[in-house]
Amino acid sequence: MATTLTLKELSKKEDLLTHGHRMCSGCGAPIVVKQLLLASDYPIVAANATGCLEVSTCISQYTAWKIPWIHNAFENAAATLSGVETMYRALKKQGKLDKEIKFVAFGGDGGTYDIGFQSLSGAAERGHDMLYVCYDNGAYMNTGIQRSSATPIGADTTTCPAGSVIKGKTQPRKNLTRIMAAHGIPYVAQASPSHWKDAITKFKKALDIKGPKFIDVISPCNRGWRSRTDDAILLSRLAVETCYWPLYEVEQGFTKITVVPKEKKPIEEFLKPQGRFKHMFAPGNEWLLKLAQEEVDREWERLRKEAGSE
């Protein structure tokens, strides 16, 4: 793969996720999927956990996918795909198939962090040759914005509404990328659609590595984040620049930060455009902003130490 990564070259490839899908206007998830499908030089077979992406890309007789794609249930995208991958290996062994095929599972944060976690953990431990891509929009957006374990602290959702008693979600988010890295699998990374080159490089790298891989991608949701329809890329870029969503990879246990922001912006810049954090800017709630900043700072420092860049 000596071809340089330019948009001009990439644009000559066929879109394997077609238009006509029914994701909301300005959704981040199709951009993530598009970048993954563009990254691949191999045929891909995909599985999807229940979620926005699954229901909106495959409604009744319509499918937006031009690749073999399977949906089973909410909790078992990784388990389903590990079965598909095992069958592929069996057919290969019997000499009935000789094509090099890659297997990718997609899940939202609900289907990955919470409900699909045990099947993901199991597939990683069994060492299936597959890539799991989580598009993390930080809540159960499909069913109406309920909190998930990926929801950041202070965020207002329908199951942790900001009011006089609680100020949004009271717990910090779970760091799934680290949990997956702790499985000791060959490749774990965090990416953002705004940094397309970094994301596509990671997808390419992951698809070329044998064994289980996991990539967590931030995917803005203007409905749940209560933001504008045009700011999915802007917000994912701000998430990287504020170090809320650091771009790094853990390859064979070694951490490397792939994009270091020129200047680390205050977390307010990421929170301010989002209505779900509106209450954090109200007088008397400054402690919440401080808490969110401390959370980001602590994680960033830890990551820098781990990557040996300090």
Binding site: L7, K8, S11, H19, G20, T63, I233
Partner: protein, 97 residues
């Protein structure tokens, strides 16, 4: 697409035609329309990469017109467009005006 009766549907809810969603036009969702001004375009193709609806037609590495049959008018392309000399190559206009 003509709706099928239960006897015609393949077992296991299998969709046999790849990419059939293209038959469903989402352009009517739009309340704002992006307009491409070719003279300010530097062909960076950011709009193409960031379009969630695959609604920017690109041929031989050059961007062309919008596919208004599918564009939902989110405006990501207009926001991300770097333009030329401070002038955007994509502007959003309200539909029906």
């Amino acid at each position: 697409m003509k709706l099928k009766g239960w006897k015609d549907l393949p077992p296991g809810a299998v969709v046999t035609e790849a990419g059939s969603a293209a038959e469903f036009k989402t352009g009517s969702w739009r309340s704002f329309r992006p307009v491409w001004l070719a003279e300010n375009c530097i062909q960076c193709l950011f709009c193409w990469m960031y379009c969630p609806d695959m609604s920017i037609k690109v041929k031989d590495g050059k961007r062309g017109e919008y596919d208004y049959d599918y564009c939902k008018g989110c405006g990501i392309c207009a926001l991300e467009c770097p333009g030329k000399k401070g002038k955007k190559a994509i502007v959003m206009e309200e539909e029906g005006k």
